[in-house]
């Protein structure tokens, strides 16, 4: 258990450091790399909770496909160092306030429902039943939540079609 806790703290620290570095890095590629660190650390956290499938999908979809696309676009546009305009500098102050407010809100919610978390997670820190095995997860997606799942697919299909229409307009 203590080893598990140690791994948790390492991964949690990695994701927090990655997220901070994402904001403070000057170059877009470095920011993108930091985001990849966050994604992979989150996948490690899912793995720690016994959600193997979700962890693998997190790396394949977010760490792999989506972030490769980010990096690809940054390289293609040859984006240079971040430029600060007067408005973006001004946005810093309310941004910090909002971030503090959000942190307080999340912390308060977690504190209020701490008992609930322990109850759900069980003794070994794993979430029982629900997400642990691929079979149960797919049963939930394709049986219990088939309609929301299909609706999401249609939403994504519309986005793809929209992208194709936008790309074709010039020809």
């Amino acid at each position: 258990m203590s080893a598990q806790l140690l791994v948790f703290f390492i991964l949690a620290a990695l994701s927090v450091i990655g997220a901070l570095s994402l904001i403070f890095q000057k170059h877009p590629i470095h920011s993108a790399l930091s985001l990849i660190v966050v994604m992979v650390a989150l996948a490690g956290l899912y793995l720690l909770m016994g959600a193997e499938f979700v962890a693998a999908v997190q790396i394949i979809v977010y760490g792999g496909a989506i972030m490769v696309l980010f990096v690809f676009v940054i390289m293609l546009l040859n984006a240079g160092l971040e430029e600060h305009t007067s408005i973006s500098k001004m946005a810093g102050f309310p941004g910090i306030l909002l971030a503090l407010a959000l942190t307080g809100f999340v912390a308060a919610t977690v504190a209020r429902s701490a008992g609930l978390f322990v109850q759900v997670a069980g003794d070994n820190g794993k979430i029982p039943g629900t997400l642990s095995s691929t079979r149960e997860l797919s049963n939930m997606i394709f049986r219990n939540f088939a309609y929301p799942f299909e609706l999401t697919s249609i939403l994504i299909l519309i986005a793809i079609l929209g992208a194709i229409v936008l790309a074709h307009r010039e020809n």
Partner: protein, 411 residues
């Protein structure tokens, strides 16, 4: 001391296995370069490497020493951190993927511990491999970007686009296998292929058997995997006639060697995956009752050992006349020992690894064969092939397999 060892036996065994596997994989990598150069040379009516050691057998060693001793300049204006990170990422991820490959069915018993022929056997083995492949793109992409040079940037742009396009077909093409095996675990995928029709082993393999033979799936997978590993005919990322050397133009010395080793390691991984997913992994192609096929390893080793001896005594240099017959004797004696009734248990044990390694070698040969045969794709052909042929075919394979699997389970 002994208490400590026995308390942490699992970890220590795993560490030893990791070191052993690293050693084996790197050695195989080195000789894969020799094998590739020799085979391509003979396909083009040349001799290939033959100066360093008999038949050029020490060439990989010379290459390795050269990689280590070369000067390693860092070009001006590179992004230092990313420039150093890229080869590490490429090599690290490529080597990690070997860890989940199971090389044999039975464990070895060492001092009361069962030592299995894999380092990790996660229930989502195949997904782990895909996750590692998905991250592997960064090695190539970041190398080209951080080099602060035009050709590497073009190379890595090409390669990222190519990998994004072919990853879809790669992932979809194995869904048929997953539907038939009902599991992501590589060991279970192999075991699902061990119930052949009429007891003939080869008919149980996914490519020939089941509700829907995975021939389409296999071809999509193999082609997409070649594209993922950036090999001919999909090596646009390092097209030497257009981009000098592509993404690793600015890398020299051991950093270049790291990309090189990463590429060859992913070739080995892909060959392992092809044999495991579609060709029954460690399962023999013969009926189970044919126990005389257990002598096949000996039957292969003894003649090849004798041939090496015969070839060695006629070799032109004195070193070759000494070394080659020695190697041949060892091989032939190994084959003889395996045929001994006292060593029957060893012979039975190596059957699984023997078939798996045989299949892996065939796929590695196909890789080299394609390099010796096929010209490179043009970029638009590459994209059209990936999106307009591979992707629809692999989706059709998923639909057909799902249909036949359902038909079999409730007729």
């Amino acid at each position: 001391m002994i208490d400590f060892l026995s308390a942490h036996a699992e970890i220590i065994i795993t560490l030893i296995k990791i070191v052993l596997l690293l050693f084996i994989v790197l050695t195989v990598n080195a000789y894969l370069t020799w094998f590739e150069r020799k085979v391509v040379a003979h396909m083009q009516s040349r001799w290939g490497p033959h100066r360093v050691g008999p038949h050029g057998l020490l060439q990989p060693l010379a290459d390795g020493a050269k990689f280590l001793l070369k000067e390693d300049p860092t070009p001006a204006g590179v992004d230092k951190f990313v420039y150093f990170l890229a080869p590490l990422l490429a090599l690290g991820l490529a080597l990690t993927s070997i860890a989940v490959i199971p090389f044999g069915p039975d464990p070895i018993r060492v001092l009361g511990h069962q030592v299995y022929l894999y380092i990790a056997n996660p229930s989502i083995g195949l997904l782990v491999l895909f996750a590692i492949t998905a991250l592997g793109v960064y090695g190539v992409a970041l190398a080209g970007w951080s080099s602060n040079s035009k050709y590497p940037l073009l190379g890595s742009l090409r390669s990222s686009a190519q990998m994004i396009s072919y990853e879809l077909a790669l992932t979809l093409s194995v869904v048929g296998v997953l539907l038939m095996a009902n599991s992501f675990n590589l060991t279970e995928i192999i075991n699902a292929q061990s119930h052949p029709a009429w007891g003939v082993g080869i008919l149980g393999w996914n490519i020939f058997s089941g509700p829907f033979p995975q021939i389409l799936g296999f071809f999509c997978f193999f082609i997409a995997a070649i594209a993922e590993t950036n090999r001919v005919p999909f090596d646009l990322a390092e097209a030497e006639s257009e981009l000098v050397a592509g993404f690793h133009t600015e890398y020299s010395s051991f950093k270049f060697a790291m990309f090189f080793i990463a590429e060859y390691t992913s070739m080995i991984t892909v060959s392992c995956l092809c044999s495991i997913l579609f060709f029954g992994g460690w399962l023999s192609p013969f009926p189970q009752s044919w126990t005389f096929t257990y002598y096949l390893p000996s039957l292969l080793l003894i003649p090849s050992g004798l041939w090496v001896i015969w070839d060695g005594i006629r070799y032109e240099t004195i070193w070759g006349r000494l070394i080659l017959p020695g190697i041949g004797t060892v091989i032939a004696l190994l084959g003889l020992a395996l045929a001994l009734p006292q060593l029957q248990f060893v012979n039975v044990f190596i059957q699984g690894p023997f078939w798996l390694l045989g299949k892996i070698l065939v796929f590695l040969f196909v890789y080299v064969w394609m390099r010796g045969t096929l010209p490179r794709f043009r970029y638009d052909q590459l994209m059209a092939f990936g999106w307009k042929l591979l992707l629809p075919v692999s989706i059709a394979n998923v639909v057909l397999t799902a249909f036949f699997v359902l038909l079999r389970s409730n007729p």
